[in-house]
């Protein structure tokens, strides 16, 4: 096991052809990557381009794409940063499944070809890169920040919170904005006005925060039309989430909260509540 670990770090640095001290070091096997290619200035339609990549057990799909860009075709465009499942940049469709390519090992696909596409339900800017603008607008729409009048008033010290209060929203605060859940959600693909799993989970995260006073403001956005109600609880957002945020659960909870607010408005129409 320790041998394999050593080769993993060596493999990352090198090209994968020579890895010292590992049984797979002299491996001449290759794996085929079929990359979605689209350059708007030259391509009217996207196409797939195949590349033979040295097969290394310790490589993830992102390593293979980086190898292609470094050694074969510098025009391949993709997003990545941390390589450790934290930054949320390298989400792509791998054989139709939305995954973080830094966490998708080649050995799960070998010896078959790996088809890599940009995340579905987003417009493609170039090759494997999608436009995030709509996603950012949706995140912004739910006001994902603490709302209270005295937010700059430090005279009373910190805004304290018990571990039990933290537990109520902590899971929903783990999102890394990788957008895999948007690629897994059929409603995102069909309904422009739907805010989508990550944004709704984030809105719910602040609605459940004991220090926040902005629930009513956020609910005005979340309750309108199809913003939240478009969700039919397909549940695949939670299946693909690499951080176990469970946006599907968050949205159902937010719906229940929204229905409560809706009926509360009949009982107390002048907003005398709270």
């Amino acid at each position: 096991m320790s041998k394999e670990r050593a080769s993993a770090s060596a493999g990352r640095v090198g090209s994968g052809e020579q890895v010292a001290g590992s049984p797979v070091a002299t491996d001449e096997r290759t794996i085929t990557l079929e990359l979605f290619r689209y350059h708007p200035e030259t391509d009217a339609e996207p196409r797939f381009q195949s590349y033979e990549v040295p097969y290394n057990e310790d490589w993830v799909v992102l390593d293979a794409i980086n190898w292609i860009k470094d050694h074969v075709d510098g025009t391949v465009t993709h997003r990545w940063s941390c390589r450790m499942g934290v930054c949320g940049s390298c989400g792509m469709m791998v054989n139709g499944e939305p995954v973080l390519t830094c966490a998708a090992f080649l050995k799960s696909y070998f010896p078959f070809a790996v088809r890599v596409e940009p995340l579905v339900n987003f417009p493609v800017e170039r090759d494997l890169v999608v436009s995030m603008d709509g996603f950012m607008d949706k995140l912004e729409a739910v006001k994902p920040y603490m709302i209270r009048d005295d937010v700059n008033d430090t005279s009373g010290g910190e805004f304290r919170q018990s571990p039990a209060e933290l537990a109520k929203y902590k899971q929903f605060s783990m999102c890394i904005n990788c957008m895999l859940c948007y690629a897994a959600c059929p409603v995102v693909g069909h309904e422009e006005g739907f805010l989508g799993p990550a944004a709704l989970a984030l809105g719910h995260r602040y609605n459940k925060d004991s220090r926040d006073h902005g629930r009513s403001e956020r609910m005005d956005v979340m309750l309108s039309d199809e913003a939240m109600w478009g969700c039919t609880f397909v549940g695949e957002c939670s299946v693909v989430c690499p951080k176990h945020v469970d946006p599907a659960g968050a949205i159902q909870q937010a719906k229940a909260m929204g229905a409560q607010e809706y009926f509360k408005a009949f009982v107390m129409p002048k907003g005398a509540g709270a």
């Binding site: 709302i147 209270r148 209060e165 109520k168 929203y169 059929p186 409603v187 069909h190 309904e191 609605n207 459940k208 925060d209 004991s210 220090r211 926040d212 006073h213 902005g214 629930r215 009513s216 403001e217 609910m219 005005d220 309750l223 309108s224 039309d225 199809e226 109600w229 039919t232 719906k255 229940a256 909260m257 929204g258 229905a259 409560q260 607010e261 809706y262 009926f263 408005a265 002048k270 907003g271 005398a272 509540g273 709270a274």
Partner: protein, 134 residues
């Protein structure tokens, strides 16, 4: 909601224009009712009532008639049936939307919720027409 503080100050007076909250609440409550009651209803009226030899069936039919003839049971039945109907109506509407009729989401309310409302009125008449309540 104990987890959030006094949230009523801002925007609390703003009207929420989405009727979806109302339909979803019916859907949700109806989902619970349907899950708790409908399987047992199917077993009783679809399997146990018609099954067996004529003598057993006649006894069961009589027991069933008496059981659903008592007025508290009728009221409970009405509640369960109406909520279950609206559960189905909402889910059918959203299924049709997910199947590609999304642009008719407003129009679909008419047959779906209208159908559930019509069936609910029928249920009320049926249960009212039974022995006991009139």
């Amino acid at each position: 909601m104990s987890s959030s503080g006094s949230d009523g100050r801002r925007g609390g007076r703003r009207a929420r224009h989405s009727g979806e909250a109302f339909w979803w609440a019916l859907f949700s409550a109806g989902g619970v009712m349907a899950a708790l009651f409908v399987p047992a209803f199917v077993v009783v009226t679809g399997v146990l009532l018609p099954a067996g030899d004529p003598a057993v069936a006649a006894a069961r039919a009589e027991a069933f008639g008496q059981a659903v003839g008592w007025w508290p049971v009728k009221i409970a039945l009405l509640g369960v049936i109406v909520l279950s109907l609206f559960h189905c109506a909402h889910r059918i509407r959203h299924t049709l939307m997910d199947f590609g009729l999304r642009r008719y989401s407003g129009l679909l309310k008419v047959p779906c919720y209208g159908g559930a409302l019509a069936a609910s009125l029928w249920a009320a008449l049926v249960l009212r027409g039974n022995t006991g309540l009139v």
